[in-house]
């Protein structure tokens, strides 16, 4: 039973050894014309864990998220959400199934106000009580004073907070984050990652975190999946990946 006071739609899993997979990708292949952006990618995102997807620019990380959420159609393979096959599910239905995707570039709707942006996140749900919005504002106090201002006045960090808050209002089971650290100062990145980690630990939210900033991502993730040219080259715990110097140099840039 999901805790009604929680911001996500999951329950804390308590950190046991074999956690079930909330999201599973099997042999996923996506092409843009002749280019194979994803070539047989398989991974598992476990419940209540942060799974980082890492790799250089063009490795296929964003394509992976876009294929999972349905913005892009795969040519082969499966996407399973909570065990159910959602490979061909329409994009608009994914939030109802418990998946929130915060896209590359954040996806703030600049012409709408902060508050309106948040409300768009709840349109699919029907009527949502003020308490839930208040909880988002409690989580991100920086947004309170800007709530009726058009979203284009927000700084990068504030925009990232806005879109995460908006995604949380969907009460997701799994949150897909595409490069949240892009263009942000290290201090803000740490703040946002800390916040996400806190939500995962407190409420059992599952996160699939795409990041080019591998060092920051691995500092907060449980598991890492490294992509290169559309293929998985390594899957391991965050600690093991951090310890593997050769791998880090080859694929992660540090």
């Amino acid at each position: 039973m999901a805790d009604p006071g929680a911001l996500s739609g999951s329950t804390p899993s308590g950190g046991t050894a074999t956690a079930e997979a909330i999201l599973e990708v099997q042999d996923l292949t996506t092409s843009y014309g002749p280019v194979r952006a994803l070539d047989g990618v398989s991974l598992r995102a476990e419940v209540g864990r942060i799974t980082a997807v890492l790799g250089a620019n063009g490795a296929g990380k964003t394509t992976l998220l876009r294929t999972i959420s349905g913005l892009v159609r795969s040519s082969r393979g499966k996407v399973l959400l909570g065990g159910a096959d959602v490979t061909r599910a329409p994009v608009e239905t994914m939030v109802t199934k418990g998946m929130s995707h915060v896209p590359e570039g954040r996806g703030v709707i600049a012409e709408l106000t902060v508050d309106e942006n948040l409300r768009v996140g709840t349109l699919f749900r029907g009527k949502v009580g003020k308490a839930e919005f208040d909880r988002v504002y409690d989580l991100f106090p920086r947004l309170v004073e800007r709530r009726n201002q058009p979203a284009h006045v927000l700084s990068g960090g504030e925009r990232q907070m806005l879109v995460i808050g908006r995604a949380l209002l969907a009460r997701p089971r799994v949150l897909l984050l595409d490069e949240p650290s892009l263009g942000l100062a290290p201090k803000i990145v740490a703040q946002i990652f800390g916040l996400v980690r806190g939500l995962v630990d407190a409420e059992g939210l599952s996160v699939l975190l795409v990041e080019q900033n591998a060092r920051s991502a691995l500092s907060v993730a449980d598991v890492g999946v490294v992509l290169n040219l559309g293929r998985v080259v390594a899957t391991d715990s965050a600690g093991s990946l951090l310890a593997d110097e050769a791998l880090r140099h080859a694929y992660l840039g540090f």
Binding site: E92, P103, G105, E111, L112, L123, A151, H152
Partner: protein, 292 residues
């Protein structure tokens, strides 16, 4: 002085009609980034539907309501069937499609209703009010025109600002991909946008027709003025569409009243040129906000 008042009033009234047409264009532009060149003939088509009902014995108001309702349906069907396939691709495709629709719809009207000029009833009197012994150009029908457009504007503002559907439509227009990720059925919202725009277009068709003559191409004159009004006000701004319409209506009325009525078309295009040279984004364009 009396001439000034009359010219201004009649300019204001026609300006309201241009405003309605411009509003329909802006609605579609905002939601789908397409200029609907077929807006005029769509409005003509629904007016002819109304005329058919009126000729068969129904009251003006029955024809009015049916015209608006059929406008809604027409707009929805056109978006879903004709426009949806070209929404994503190069803009030129959509332009060609709406131009083709423009011609096709006019031709269909001519086939069904004939090419002759027919008179269209006005719902209210066409004699100007008497003020201090003089007749001014403000007629009861003119008051109706002004009221109808204002009410429409207020309803639209209310819809977009205060309702969930309005928010969904704005989200679909400004951030379609993001809105889809958030669970908004953007396809339906775009169809709804076209349907509402077509209702406004039907309204403008009815307002022009009232008290005058209609024939399949009767909206062609308004199309140019409506476009100029929309550009003048800024294609993204509904308020701009109305202000642009009024400004244009009044200016053109002065040209017609004080210079020569044959110069009106030229004047409209001159105004368009000036707007494009000085402030191409229109009077009320908001600074395009960068999406992040």
């Amino acid at each position: 002085m009396e001439q000034f008042v009359n010219v201004t009033i009649s300019g204001f009234i026609s300006g309201m009609i241009y405003a309605a047409f411009a509003l329909a264009l802006v609605l579609i532009w905002r939601s789908t980034r397409i200029v609907n060149f077929a807006q005029g003939s769509m409005g003509a088509a629904t007016s002819f539907i109304a005329l058919t009902l009126i000729h068969s014995g129904q009251s003006y108001w029955v024809g009015f309501i049916v015209a608006l309702a059929s406008g809604f349906v027409l707009g929805a069907v056109i978006e879903r069937v004709v426009i949806r396939p070209v929404e994503r691709g190069p803009e030129l495709n959509a332009v060609i499609v709406t131009l083709g629709l423009f011609v096709a719809i006019e031709a269909i009207i001519a086939i069904v209703a004939g090419n002759s000029f027919q008179s269209f009833p006005a719902p209210f009197g066409l004699r100007g009010f008497s003020v201090g012994g003089n007749t001014i150009s403000l007629t009861p029908n003119g008051v109706f025109v002004i009221a109808a457009v204002l009410v429409t504007m207020v309803l639209l503002i209310g819809l977009f600002r205060f309702t969930r559907v309005g928010l969904a439509m704005r989200a679909s227009a400004f951030g379609q991909e993001v809105a889809r990720l958030l669970g908004v059925r953007t396809g339906r919202m775009l169809t709804l946008g076209w349907a509402l725009a077509a209702v406004v277009g039907s309204l403008s068709g009815l307002l022009i027709a009232g008290g005058g003559l209609v024939h399949p191409a009767y909206m062609e004159g308004i199309i140019v003025y409506g476009f100029v009004a929309a550009v003048l006000g800024g294609l993204d701004s509904p308020v701009g569409a109305v202000v642009g319409g009024l400004v244009l209506g009044v200016l053109l009325s002065y040209v017609s009243g004080y210079l020569d009525s044959s110069l009106v078309g030229l004047a409209a295009l001159v105004i368009l040129m000036i707007v494009l040279l000085i402030k191409p984004s229109g009077l009320f364009s908001s600074r395009a906000a960068r999406r992040a």
